[in-house]
Symmetry: D2
């Protein structure tokens, strides 16, 4: 396939692969890369628009634009399932085309605001498809054909740099066809000493490579696996780097194991030998796609604008009220809060085409199941098993006693915004990053992302994994405390 | 099958069947039945047993024992989808056979403890199947061929008896082929005055009928629809009456609308005319199947028995440790608590084959999404959209600060029990009823039921329905309160 | 005075009395008593009565009835302050007279229901007086002239019996004028082996004595100090034993230190030598006096009785509606709950002469500051420093979102009762004991007790004591957990 | 002056009454002012200093520096109690002298950081004295000799300006000796139209006056009463204006009554006639005195500074580590939070000389009992009766499960600061105002203020006042909601 929907032209309509989850196969590419993807493909048609919809001229899309799904994980899964390969030769081009309209220098994928153009049914189908894939993945072992290994650690941590170097050397020595990518800031780093490494091992030349944020954005399929060194924060960093397709992430902890770091770094040689040899099991973690929508100035009506009316009222005029301003795929949570303001925020909360409620609070935390143990927990939300296909909405210091944490289906499109008559702005942050001001009239759209996060599970205890993490981190069954409490009532 | 139950006349019983979520093999049958059901059928084979498994001699099952799914809802759904009817002739025998082992005079379906014999994968598949069915149902309109109408109200409430009579008379007058079933206690009731009703309307004879708990247990397929009059409590009562297959329940509120009572009784003629004429939309509410498991005395080991070891340890001896003692299908929640004891309970909590934690608390509330607004909320749990396929586990007054409400997938089999060394018993209750003592060593198994609860939604606002209920009941956006809070920080 | 410290006269020590919080008139007495007390004395006059007041004939009181306060602690305090002795000769008669009406075989002090006859101002003055005394006590060191030592341990715990014996022997050997009282059940106990002890140490005869609940009730002044061995539960037991005057309680922990057990048993010889030699510091812990009030049947009005009207309405008829049925002095909390009922309770809550609210919940926990770390914490209440003169009211699983834990002044008289139209009874328990049914119409009165609980503080770290307990028990600053959380957002 | 520090007379300075609570009487003054005060006086001696103490050269104090307490409330109270008037002629001078060292152009009273120099015993005595005064005040009726009336409303609210004008005209017409002070911004206000008012009523000249923040700071004794128009926010504004001595505040609500606005504006003529004629009852609300302490740069040790060691460690060097930077008297709460930072804050919390814990949270809310219904409630704190002498410490979104709201005595000096190794600053705000950055090493000292806030209570229902507010604002006993909940379990 040469482009998105190029061959569909003659059909006039969507003879595409709406494969829900498109299990693509490997194919050659000019970069020698074996590309992979994990994405869902939809047609862009028949969508009801409202005043707050996109301004067409800002984001022109090809008539039959399509997005492609490529992922080694799926390739293998497909084979594993005995499903015949389909012809997806155009997939890389499709992706390239999509790039053309993704202009954000920050690497934020503007294209993904297109979720706003998905019909409710499409989002629902996509979410359902990912659930089904996720359910299958966790039950099978994926054999990797590893060539390109991505190493991630915090570049300012000297210990992590040493570990990165150690792991790099071990990998490059182990197999002559391995290529190892480390962060480009390490190229000149004194501790990493890439020059020394290459001098000592001339055959590493050409195989020690350096990645940049740009490469992660443009060629995520390059990498067969990501090795994250550090803690849960490093895994969040991986999610931030790979805003769309995410290679499987195998996370090593340098201290105690966390919710997302499930492998002890001390044992990395055994772990990697086994994972690359026997295969891996992957848990697909739900991510959210959050798009900031900016209110467009509108001289005639500025004094009497009403966010609720604009978002769910009937379209009465022929113009658009909001334009997208950046999209983030997040693994933990989107937080809207009062930022530097000393007083509470007022926010309007919408689910699909309904106005849920006006929230008066310090803020709102919209969390994935993965994020349920992070800020959501601090705000009073529940612990949530990562397999649940849900969105957790928790108010931060609600100023009304009646607001309680809410669990919503991941098929809902949530919108949270600042009313036009608010006295102050609110601030949005995405996995604790990219803090952005939301002025009165602005809002954020949050929905299940087409790009879930594949987290590599320990081979031997995949089932009990989450409960283990909870028990360990929250110190369930800590005998000391239990004893104390027992005394009180004994 | 051509219509609802129209051809059932000759059979004297609905022999229809739906295979939408039937994972079992087809096989011939002598009756050529076309029954309907909403149930999942599984083979009883290849299941790993543990010490705590059923004693085989207590519940012998035919080699290819199967359970049948019958529901008018599914019949129509099947047609609606254009899927050809399948040959399900064996189904009636299957059901009859199951009956043989359901001896509980209370109407509790002993057979359903068989969920303990389902493999993890079967339960997971079943839960997934119900989710998919549920998703489809909510999007379509079901046309009913109504003949047998079941009326439910609290028999001791004089107002409700009058309303029951009024509705009965209206229905019997409306269509000559309607049969109306009211509670058998009303047959001699002075206010209902069935004799007077029949004397005034001789053509009602034979069409005014009386139901008993026994009929609900044995012939739930008889009824095309249940009209519940009262409040959410009446809907819980319907769930209790129909422990397996539940006809669609259309619930009228006599006061303000509730979470489950979505129709205003004042408008019953319009509501019923439209529902029976245009069709209904049904939301399938997840129910749980909870089975009490009694520890069997065991002279040799009684002094050193350990519940954790018995439930998840390896099977070391050739005997069974527990036997089932009654199963309940519940719509809201299972509660285990300290009952009349003044001190807290200690309970062991298991998910599938793992020991989650030892809970020290006043009790545990295991709630469906439907029940999230009931006791779960009082215990500090989250509000949960009824479409979420989850189990909500909330401790009641936990004596450890680290226990937080947990959201688990509905594919998990949960077990909660009293450790052998507990100083006191705990008590279990099911939708606030059937309070039962759990002695040390006893436990309760809780998993997604094969018998969801079909709740009829308002035709015109199915989407926003849940949010409406929440806003109304929790008084979100109550202007008075908001103002007060605003003042504080203004 | 014939008892208490009467034999101390010749010692020229501690014949003192403290009137710090005696708001009563002095008056002569025949005994020339030199009693001590920690109690507040009030006149019984000028009290407004309501329908729910006591039936006079049940509890006739002398015109100038007064209650006496006696406590060695105060004696010493007085001297320490250089305040001259006052003539309090009448005090013993007052106490004796009170005894006449305290018939409860259980040792519950019926007389203490008289708090209902205290005017609001009297209760307020009393509470204020205790606060002031408490504040002074914690700042000074009390020198004890120890003669009679009370040893308390759980009689069914073999380890504790051994420790009791060890401590007894150590004490009796240390000083020839020490008398040691152990529980009378130990007299024939095999492990304690009192016969052997006396045979080995003939000079212990007459100095090893045995206490009974009756002695604690009638002659609490006998004991100079209570040594509690065990855990916080043992300290609660001490509070239960000494329903009125409580000797200073020095509590040893046999495991980790608790909120009330502040001394390590391992170090008992050093601890006791120093405490008896250098003196002790005492923290007066607020106790509550809780009286069960039973609704009296009243043929004429039974069908339309209203608890709110009876408790705070105007007195319209010449009869009493309730009679007292037992009083408990509690150190931790009074709990009213639904007991064995599966549904919530409805309770009316009153503060002084106001109806606060109707509580719909599993129950209510009314806690002292000392009890704030026990059931109150499990029910969601705050941690409360024991010096705060407050009452903590916390609903247990409130069924209304608007109920939040409330902190009230200890000068308020709280009443909580079951409305006449309640469908079920509620149950009351007192420090987790004495579980009692409250039928519709019954209520419990709770107010600050005249008999606080003197807890001996560690000499060297009295100030930070509470914070230490909190940090230790709740594992504040547990490094492991902090690290985990840090990772999440780092 | 006959008492207190009579020996100071010869010093020509600080002829002080350390009366704990000084009940002063009126006396002439050069300004014609009838001064009042509500303040506590202490000697500055014998205070242990630590590294973090004040730099002496920054805040030199006279050897016998004193602060004066003057308040009409106390004057009357004194008379009422039959206590002979004392000679307090020096008081105004004392106050003037204090002014000399209060340089803050903002009107913040730097002198009040002196609380850091109070010994623990002095603070405890002061707090206890205020409690006692408060208890007396609420029981008596104060007759005011009203001359100077202060009117307060939000100057930007047109409705409030009209009401201010209406009230002003009514008062000036009512009694020829009344002087009415309105905000100086109203002098030229078109709506208030002071020129028109004076032209129409020539006798108002000289009696219509204008107040400024400066006058409130320097001459608070000028005003006999403050009439606040608006909502609870206006009452907070009154507290902000009067940073030390606060005249009695009678607050009118223009909408529904609030926690602090207890009079309906509609009835102002009756309310004021009665209050000025019959007298008022005053509730003294606890305020906190919060002082920002700035870490002083210290070249030698900057790299290894530890806040815990500096605040509670032993003084090892002869220099001071922190200097005060502004003090605020607050009525609701001090909040320390993460401000614009997206991540949580880490704060060290100290009580007196102990390190309580390291708090990892979005922030800390330190609330007065009055503030318990404001931000404290949103953060999960308890409702607290305003008479309780306590400090409420509540974490905002604590990142450790073990942190629970804490109730501390108002005799404790609390300190909360940012550790030197914190990655970000925190922000402090005071009653939601004066947002200030706290850099690593800075901290805030919070203790009971010597300047409580006298709130005028409704004459006829002083007792039930707080419960009324709670019930009304939180909608306790809202019948609609109760019904819904009842249904669930019925």
């Amino acid at each position: 396939m040469a482009t998105g929907y190029s061959e569909d032209k003659t059909l006039g309509l969507a003879q595409v692969e709406d494969e829900r989850i498109d299990y693509d196969n490997r194919r050659p590419s000019s970069t020698g890369s074996d590309t992979e993807a994990l994405e869902v493909v939809f047609e862009d048609q028949g969508v009801r628009r409202r005043k707050s919809s996109l301004v067409p001229s800002v984001a022109p899309r090809p008539a039959h634009f399509r997005q492609k799904t490529q992922c080694f994980v799926h390739t293998l899964l497909e084979k594993h399932d005995g499903i015949p390969n389909k012809d997806h030769s155009a997939s890389y081009e499709g992706l390239a085309q999509e790039r053309l309209i993704d202009k954000d220098p920050h690497g934020h994928v503007h294209g993904s605001h297109h979720s706003r153009l998905l019909t409710k049914k499409q989002i629902s189908d996509m979410a359902f498809g990912i659930r089904e894939l996720s359910k299958k993945l966790v039950q099978i072992k994926l054999k990797l054909n590893v060539r390109n290994i991505f190493i991630l650690g915090k570049a300012h941590d000297e210990t992590l740099i040493s570990h990165s170097r150690e792991t790099t050397e071990w990998l490059l020595s182990k197999e002559p066809h391995y290529r190892v990518y480390v962060e480009d800031t390490l190229e000149q780093n004194r501790i990493f000493d890439s020059e020394g490494l290459l001098n000592d091992n001339p055959d590493f030349r050409g195989r020690l490579r350096f990645w940049s944020k740009k490469l992660c954005d443009e060629r995520p399929q390059t990498f067969d696996i990501v090795l994250a060194l550090g803690g849960d924060g490093t895994v969040l960093y991986a999610s931030w780097l790979f805003q769309r397709i995410v290679p499987p992430v195998l996370a090593f902890s340098l201290g105690s194991l966390g919710f997302l770091t499930k492998f002890d770094y001390e044992l990395y040689p055994q772990t990697l030998s086994r994972a690359f040899g026997e295969g891996i099991t992957v848990s697909l973690r739900l991510r959210f796609e959050a798009t900031i929508m900016r209110s467009q100035s509108n001289k005639k009506t500025d004094n009497k604008r009403d966010l609720v009316e604009e978002l769910i009222g009937e379209e009465s005029e022929d113009h658009h009220t909001h334009v997208p301003d950046g999209t983030h795929n997040i693994l933990n949570e989107v937080v809207l809060d009062r930022g530097p303001n000393p007083t509470m925020s007022t926010m309007e909360l919408f689910g699909d085409d309904e106005h849920f409620t006006t929230v008066q609070a310090d803020g709102i935390c919209v969390s994935t199941p993965t994020g349920s143990t992070a800020y959501n927990l601090a705000a009073g939300g529940s612990l949530c098993h990562p397999d649940n296909p849900v969105i957790l909405v928790t108010a931060i210091c609600a100023h009304t006693l009646s607001f309680r944490p809410i669990i919503l289906p991941d098929t809902i499109v949530l919108r949270a915004g600042v009313p036009y008559d608010a006295r102050t702005s609110s601030w949005a942050s995405f996995d604790g990053k990219e803090r952005t001001e939301l002025r009165p009239g602005d809002y954020v759209t949050i929905s299940a992302s087409r790009y879930p996060f594949p987290s590599v599970l320990p081979l031997d205890r995949k089932r009990q994994d989450w409960v283990d993490s909870i028990s360990r981190t929250l110190q369930w069954n800590s005998r000391q405390r239990q004893k104390s409490y027992k005394e009180w009532t004994a």
